[in-house]
Symmetry: C2
Subunit: 159 residues, 2 copies
């Protein structure tokens, strides 16, 4: 079992990576194409950023310990860069905090995932970004994903 | 030497792949992020589609034989999906056809490439797409690049 007294920085351990993989599989079934660890202009980094077929931007914050969840005061910053926001946690995680007002249950979706798949426990409402912001973020996403692909096939372009 | 009497379908042989790699390196230096073999809504497939920092879409058609170049009547279809269009050919290719009016020298750029690098022989003018078309293509590009990345790290998502 994970030591819940310690925070685990997202995507640096196996649990977070497993949650990311399961979430991307869920998203793929819902026609949402995502990439991992996306730096944002505000200095934050989205664990997952995805775009659906209508161009809506989704951000997922992965939490794998209760301490990390309750100790993070910066997650509302993500709302400036997405149309929908989800929490994603590993199977077995205590979900009761997500009903607390401090975690905005009316504005955040909730996903429970493992390395094989994920369950959409609570959908996220759409809170539309300004069109100019969505356009800018879509462009950044497109170029970042392309650079990552190129880097995989050409070491000279690796970053 | 290549048999110039035969067309070589882009990116299926080493020469075309080498031209693609060199071109992507050139593009990276010019802050253009590209991906290969992008199907378009009109049924064509762009050898390279790239997006620059201003969101402009670039399409590159790779030609590795004179017969393929002069026998292709469909390349003007690309102009419906890009702001700038380039030809890219391998080093040693006879460039004289690109000055002929039939290949629109005033509207097409020209790149000469090998596997190591590429030279911008003639810049391509910008012929701006309608904003709605550029938006739709940027979205398709973003989602396609993300799906390709996911497929590389998760066989379940492979396509």
């Amino acid at each position: 079992m994970m030591d819940e007294s310690l925070s685990c920085p997202p995507l640096t351990d196996g649990t977070a990576l497993a949650v990311a993989r399961g979430t991307l599989r869920l998203f793929a079934r819902h026609d949402m194409a995502g990439i991992l660890e996306v730096p944002l202009p505000n200095g934050r980094r989205a664990d997952i950023m995805a775009i659906d077929g209508n161009g809506r931007i989704i951000i997922v914050e992965i939490k794998c310990s209760r301490a990390d969840l309750l100790g993070d005061a910066k997650w509302p910053d993500y709302f400036d860069y997405c149309d929908r926001f989800f929490w994603a946690v590993p199977a077995g995680f205590d979900l009761s905090p997500f009903d607390g007002e401090i975690l905005w249950p009316g504005r955040t979706g909730l996903i429970v995932a493992d390395q094989y798949d994920a369950e959409l426990v609570r959908p996220a409402p759409v809170e539309p970004l300004a069109a100019a912001r969505r356009k800018a973020e879509t462009l950044r996403f497109a170029r970042r994903a392309a650079r990552r692909l190129s880097a995989l096939s050409d070491p000279v372009l690796g970053v």
